[in-house]
């Protein structure tokens, strides 16, 4: 192999010589910031973010509707309403949706718009590119979903049993944390699908809304192979609201429920995120993305 120094050029630059940061870490951080900033700019400029925000903010209306239109509003506890909204709507429905909406396209969009050859010919670590973009997704989706959850909490205080006091805020924090982990794990999965397949949305839908729902009914420990299992385990309501009678019924007629606990669930979600992010980086390094593969094909 030839030595790189033997390829020194006697070139007269027609443009100023660019300056790259010295040191591997500094270069890495530069690329990470560039990837993050670029992705964030693209996300924030597009009108589809408004659509995503509108859908995400719909749950806020529910507690208000209950407060103003329900005949039995005093029978409804604000805590109960918020727990259900945050658990079922925000964490288990909207978080996967936002992941599919934003994260599948982190790499998929470059493939679709054929800009991926430009990205892959930049002298940057692939991991910096992937992590930077994932960071932008996480920031945008957390801002949207987190605000929606916060507003839902605020709206739920119009009902009884919930207020901006210490207990309430602790509960809110727990749910926000679970939401963040749900966004991370689902986002990493969506990112991975976007890196591996051309049609990540269909496969993502089949997994997140087909397989995950199906697995909850299959006896045994099949639901351990879902993300929803762990996000649900993070929620206090999952343990509190299931009374003994209901649990016995489930054990008898549906399936054995194996609980993992909130802390283990959180670690598992972090693990899932790390593995899928790592997998995405490996795929980006290995896969040949250039679109016009061979003439005539």
């Amino acid at each position: 192999m030839m030595d790189q120094s033997s390829h020194a050029f006697t070139k007269t630059s027609i443009l100023p010589k660019p300056v790259a940061p010295s040191g591997t870490l500094a270069q890495y951080i530069h690329c990470l910031r560039a990837s993050f900033g670029h992705s964030l700019t693209l996300m924030l400029r597009r009108q589809r973010i408004i659509f995503a925000a509108v859908i995400t903010f719909l749950p806020v209306v529910i507690p208000l509707a209950i407060a103003f239109f329900s005949d039995s509003q005093f029978a409804r506890s604000g805590m109960d309403v918020f727990s259900k909204m945050a658990g079922e709507a925000h964490i288990n429905t909207l978080a996967p949706l936002l992941a599919l909406f934003f994260a599948t396209m982190i790499i998929g969009e470059d493939v679709e718009s054929r800009t991926i050859p430009l990205m892959l010919t930049r002298p940057m670590p692939r991991s910096a590119w992937v992590f930077g973009r994932f960071g932008a997704y996480l920031m945008v989706s957390t801002a949207i979903l987190g605000t929606s959850m916060l507003l839902t909490f605020g709206a739920s205080t119009a009902l009884s049993d919930l207020a901006f006091d210490r207990d309430g805020l602790e509960k809110l924090f727990t749910y926000e944390l679970a939401m963040l982990l749900a966004l991370m794990a689902n986002g990493a999965l969506a990112l991975f699908l976007g890196a591996v397949t051309k049609r990540p949305i269909i496969i993502g839908l089949i997994f997140l809304y087909g397989w995950q729902r199906l697995a909850t009914f299959v006896p045994g420990v099949v639901d351990f192979l879902t993300i929803m299992k762990y996000t649900t385990e993070m929620l206090p309501v999952a343990l509190e609201s299931t009374n003994q009678v209901v649990r016995e019924e489930i054990l008898e007629f549906k399936k054995q429920q194996y609980l993992v606990g909130a802390s283990k669930a959180a670690i598992t979600l972090l693990g899932i995120t790390a593995v899928l992010l790592g997998g995405s980086v490996v795929v980006v390094r290995i896969r040949e993305y250039a679109t016009d593969r061979a003439a005539g094909t």
């Binding site: 995503a52 859908i55 329900s70 949706l97 909406f101 396209m105 049609r199 949305i201 269909i202 839908l205």
Partner: protein, 291 residues
């Protein structure tokens, strides 16, 4: 052999005046069947049909023989009975599959044409916006009906062939019509909705996820409203539940949940169809009229 005075020749055949949309349908179907995911979904739908076929054959064969050891058991197992409910359930279970297939096939139909400047190519031919839009829509509808109405009607035919005498035929004479009507109620709004998303969004993947987001958000909101306000009729705000309600009416199914008749859900579905049609028409016509 004609003698040509110029270096090019005009088309000498007669232009097709009717059914030009069929070309679009043919082209879309040809592209679709090549897809691996489509074949996978076809397999899933086929397995369900196979189970139903087994149900029909087992029911008809066993019920013809009153001395059959399983006859008594079969009479107890109501869910195995081949009646209107069985076909209603078959179509309900096929509905998510139809949605996925429409999503797969339809999410890129318009936006990909816009992205690749194919609209200009289409409209430079003697194809009008009506041919284009109808062709795209009908290709989805045909695929959807191929997963719902067609297999269900085949099952009805098999059921009639296996059952002795003409009694079954008189009982089931309207089933194909009911099946076709409900299939159309499932397929047409899905197809229109996904095409509308494809018309509005710039990317195939975004069009797909947008359609799904609307559906999921709609379902969740309806369920939560119904739960919290303890009013089951709010469930009809959910699009899939509306379809269910219409299906119940078509197949004469009991309705233990809703007080409302099928008129409201039907109006809801019609409104969705109308809205989507307007969106598709506007986008396609704009492309046709573009300078």
């Amino acid at each position: 052999m004609p003698v040509y005075t110029r270096s090019y020749r005009n088309y000498e055949g007669t232009f097709r005046r009717r059914g030009r949309w069929m070309l679009i349908v043919e082209q879309e179907l040809r592209i679709l069947v090549k897809g691996k995911i489509f074949q996978f979904l076809c397999l899933g739908a086929f397995l369900h049909w196979l189970l139903r076929l087994f149900q029909v054959v087992a029911y008809d064969v066993i019920m013809q023989d009153p001395n059959h050891p399983m006859a008594a058991m079969l009479q107890q197992a109501k869910f195995l009975t081949v009646n209107e409910t069985a076909f209603f359930d078959f179509l309900r279970i096929q509905a998510p599959m139809v949605f996925l297939i429409c999503l797969l096939a339809g999410s890129g139909m318009i936006c990909n044409d816009v992205r690749n400047n194919l609209m200009e190519v289409y409209f430079s031919k003697p194809i009008t916006w009506r041919d284009y839009a109808l062709g795209k829509l009908l290709s989805l509808v045909f695929v959807g009906l191929g997963f719902t109405a067609l297999p269900a009607i085949v099952l009805v035919v098999i059921h009639n062939l296996l059952a002795p005498g003409w009694e079954t035929l008189t009982t089931t004479i309207w089933w194909p019509v009911e099946i076709a009507a409900f299939s159309l109620v499932i397929v047409l709004p899905f197809a229109l909705g996904i095409l509308a998303c494809s018309a509005v969004m710039q990317s195939q993947n975004y069009a797909g996820i947008t359609a799904f987001m609307i559906l999921v958000a709609n379902g969740v909101i309806a369920a939560l409203l119904a739960g919290f306000l303890q009013e089951e009729n709010y469930l009809l705000l959910s699009y899939p539940m509306s379809l269910d309600r219409i299906g119940q009416a078509i197949f004469h199914q009991p309705n233990p949940v809703f007080n409302l008749g099928w008129g409201w859900p039907m109006a809801f579905v019609a409104m969705v169809c109308l809205l989507c049609s307007v969106i598709i028409t506007r986008v396609v016509r704009r492309a046709e009229c573009a300078p």
